[in-house]
């Protein structure tokens, strides 16, 4: 059934309806992935809205409008029944995010990182749809995907979902915004991209690629120092899982992948909320300084609230790591069962292990100690590397500053945005910055924020314990057997073991990982140079202007005469 909007308009005009709308608007597609995802988005909108309501400073009306457009587009997009609506909603998601970022402190930098690539994605999507139509496809979303323009669609999806080589926009925006803003943004953009993969390219066969992304991104995540940089890379990694699931060829892959999308929205949102509270309370975003800040700035932390925060953080960490009763376990098991190639399977295991290791680090550094356990180093006692408990905080901060990769130095550039390693380091002390620093968020109503986090924690548990409520009935039932629990648990144990035994050893190597920033900078510089050259060509000389005109005329004429 298509909504014939023009029929009405056309009757008024007394003309035949044709063209633009008639074959464009289709009824919404109400299949399981769409409805499930829209529902999860909706629940998350409620939870994150609650969280933001408990946050100071209050967002302006313009901010809320942009955020609403962003989220609203994301909620409606899974239900889109035709490519036109799909594209419009995709644009709305992008534009809403741009608006939100513009209204953040330190906006120009973030928008510069965000906007150009997103525009390329939008253009690629438009081109892909054009090629699809040209190849004889209709605008309706049928579930068979595009029949033309797969390459362009893949580019659009890769950018929107922040698949590994195109992830730079993500790790340069979410960690730079205010903590509570990141809570709002983290849920929608990339998930829309993953969903587009399902809708546009269901037969992409990217199973292995997804798994590789999952592993590579987790390695980068392990190397991050800032809390939200760390979480952002985990988004990339989890997107790898989702892609592997959706692209997996056997039956349970798609439900697994989509379920993972939903789960990820919930637990990653929860983790960003925890991160926001931690940053606000500890006054620093450097993971190594979280405990330090607490001890000096607030000598007597409210223990009870900290315990609650720990519970929320633990739920999130356990979920994302795939520990049995939580939701990540269900979806990861589904995905692992669905993948075809052994290589993919073991890569996903490795990804899970890495996730577990990094979230052990998260819990450890956030709530237990500021020192990374490093048994090997403690044995040798030869080097006093960074992150050692005996160093003074100033020294550590200095070494953080020196060793800060691109991430750290950029944070230093954007002084005034949320607390960063660089600014703490350059201050020469690890004393927490005042809680009300510009650009930060502080709790207005702790209870409301607690409520939001509690709701998401419960949802994590519920989605893990009762997957059949959420999964489509037609899909293969997930069985919570002991075997499944074990298969979910052993990579986690592997990861935890890795963290306690080897992580301290690996940190220096990890932090030297190359980043994609150079490529982006080179591209921008090249573009600037091209523009400068173009300006040189247009030097305002009237004779040159006429000369080009005559040259064009002569060239065209000669060419024509040669052929005639």
């Amino acid at each position: 059934m298509s909504v014939r909007l023009t029929a009405v308009v056309g009757t008024v005009a007394g003309s035949q309806p044709s063209g633009f709308w008639t074959h464009a608007l289709e009824a919404p597609v109400l299949d399981w992935p769409g409805v499930f995802l829209a529902a999860v988005f909706l629940v998350y909108v409620a939870a994150a809205g609650l969280y933001l309501a408990g946050t100071q400073p209050r967002r302006t009306r313009g901010w809320w409008i942009c955020a609403g457009v962003h989220a609203g587009g994301a909620v409606a997009l899974p239900l889109a029944g035709d490519l036109l609506t799909f594209f419009i909603l995709w644009e709305l998601v992008t534009l809403g995010a741009v608006g939100v970022l513009w209204l953040e402190p330190g906006a120009p930098r973030m928008v510069r990182a965000y906007l150009p690539v997103q525009l390329v994605a939008a253009a690629a999507l438009m081109g892909a749809i054009g090629m699809h139509v040209a190849a004889g496809g209709t605008l309706a979303i049928t579930g068979e995907g595009l029949i033309g323009g797969a390459g362009l669609a893949l580019l659009a999806v890769a950018i929107k979902a922040a698949v590994f080589p195109f992830h730079v926009w993500l790790v340069n925006t979410y960690p730079q915004s205010r903590p509570a803003t990141a809570v709002w943004l983290s849920a929608f953009g990339t998930k829309v991209g993953v969903f587009a993969l399902l809708r546009l390219l269901p037969d992409s066969g990217l199973e292995l690629a997804g798994a590789i992304v999952a592993v590579v991104a987790v390695i980068y995540a392990l190397s991050r120092r800032t809390l939200r940089g760390f979480l952002s890379f985990h988004i990339v990694s989890q997107v790898g899982f989702m892609i592997a699931g959706i692209a997996a060829l056997s039956g349970a892959g798609v439900p697994g992948g989509v379920y993972h999308v939903g789960n990820h929205i919930v637990y990653k949102g929860l983790l960003f909320m925890v991160a926001a509270v931690l940053i606000e309370r500890r006054g620093s975003e450097n993971m190594y300084l979280l405990r330090q800040g607490e001890s000096t700035a607030s000598p007597k932390p409210a223990q009870r609230r900290d315990v609650l925060l720990l519970v929320a953080a633990a739920v999130g960490a356990l979920s994302i790591s795939g520990v049995p009763p939580f939701n990540g376990w269900v979806s990861k098991s589904l995905i692992k069962d669905a993948v075809e190639w052994p290589a993919t399977y073991y890569l996903l295991i490795a990804g899970s292990a890495g996730t577990a290791a990094s979230f052990t680090k998260f819990i450890w550094l956030g709530f237990v100690s500021s020192v990374v356990p490093d048994p090997l180093r403690r044995l040798s006692k030869r080097r006093s590397g960074r992150g050692r408990g005996k160093d003074s905080s100033a020294e550590r901060a200095g070494s953080v500053e020196i060793a800060a990769g691109p991430e750290g130095s950029e944070s230093a550039e954007s002084a005034g945005s949320a607390g960063s390693a660089g600014s703490a380091g350059s201050a020469g002390s690890a004393v927490a910055e005042p809680a009300g620093r510009p650009g930060g968020d502080i709790a207005r109503v702790g209870l409301v924020r607690g409520l939001a986090m509690g709701a998401l924690s419960l949802l994590c548990l519920l989605m893990g314990l009762q997957p059949s409520w959420f999964l489509p009935p037609a899909a293969e039932e997930f069985e919570a057997t002991v075997a499944a629990a074990v298969s979910g648990l052993w990579p986690v144990l592997l990861g935890v073991g890795f963290f306690f035994l080897l992580y301290g050893r690996c940190v220096p190597a990890l932090e030297r990982l190359p980043s994609g920033e150079g490529v982006a900078r080179g591209a921008i510089a090249g573009f600037r140079r091209a523009i400068r050259a173009a300006r040189e060509l247009h030097n305002g000389d009237l004779r040159r202007q006429l000369g080009w005109a005559f040259a064009g005329l002569a060239a065209g004429w000669v060419l024509l005469l040669v052929f005639v």
């Binding site: 000389d541 004779r543 040159r544 006429l546 000369g547 005559f550 040259a551 005329l553 002569a554 004429w557 000669v558 005469l561």
Partner: protein
């Protein structure tokens, strides 16, 4: 633009032109053009076919170009500061002054004659208008003394004539529309065409000739005199 490039482009374009012309060497255009000469007398009553084409068959073109001159005069008058001239402050000898004074009336009469007989003899509104404009230019050049611009007619009157001419042209046009069923209609309005070759023939063409002559004469005079006064 470097000389070499300029040479290249102009030679290339001329070469294209040569090729085109060689291809069209045996074209017989004349046979294809509508034979106005053998129909215009019946159609319009004008003996001068060029006038017939200008003011009857293709009257819209003429109206259009007349307004073009109006626009030009308008802009030049706006851009040029009025009543100040450095260029014309040269004192001319007495011979020139008297000589011009002697010639000017004849030139004016010639201009009017060319306009009025435009439909029966070579000439027409444009030609005569240019002659008239030349009288104004002569006058401005010769009788401007001490940088103080002098006009045959005051500037305001010139503008009034210009606008009145356009209005008259349009009125003829609308009159044709109402009575003859087409904008700028001539014979179709029922106006007697008269005997070809006589002064009062060709319907409305003499009137349009006069109007266009006034228009062009005044318009060009405004333009040229304003440019002088810069």
């Amino acid at each position: 633009m470097r000389t070499g490039w300029a040479l290249l482009f102009s030679v290339a374009l001329v070469g294209c032109g040569i090729v085109t012309l060689i291809a069209g060497v045996d074209l017989d255009t004349h046979g294809a053009i509508f034979d106005y000469a053998h129909h215009s007398v019946q159609h319009t009553g004008a003996v001068n076919v060029v006038s017939a084409v200008l003011f009857d068959y293709r009257g819209l073109d003429t109206l259009g170009e007349a307004t073009g001159v109006l626009a030009t005069g308008l802009v030049v008058a706006v851009l040029a500061p009025k009543a100040r001239t450095s260029m014309l402050s040269v004192r001319l000898s007495l011979v020139v002054l008297y000589g011009v004074a002697l010639v000017l009336p004849f030139v004016s009469v010639l201009g009017f004659a060319v306009i009025l007989f435009g439909h029966v003899s070579p000439g027409g509104g444009f030609t005569g208008g240019v002659v008239l404009a030349s009288t104004a230019v002569f006058f401005a050049v010769v009788y401007t003394v001490g940088g103080q611009q002098s006009y045959v007619l005051p500037m305001d009157t010139q503008k009034r004539i210009e606008n009145a001419a356009i209005a008259a042209f349009l009125l003829v046009g609308f009159g044709g529309l109402v009575t003859g069923g087409a904008f700028l209609a001539n014979a179709a309005t029922g106006i007697p065409l008269g005997e070809p070759g006589s002064l009062l023939s060709a319907g409305l063409i003499p009137l349009l000739n006069l109007v266009a002559g006034m228009k062009v004469g005044v318009g060009l005079a405004i333009v040229v005199v304003c440019l002088f006064s810069e």
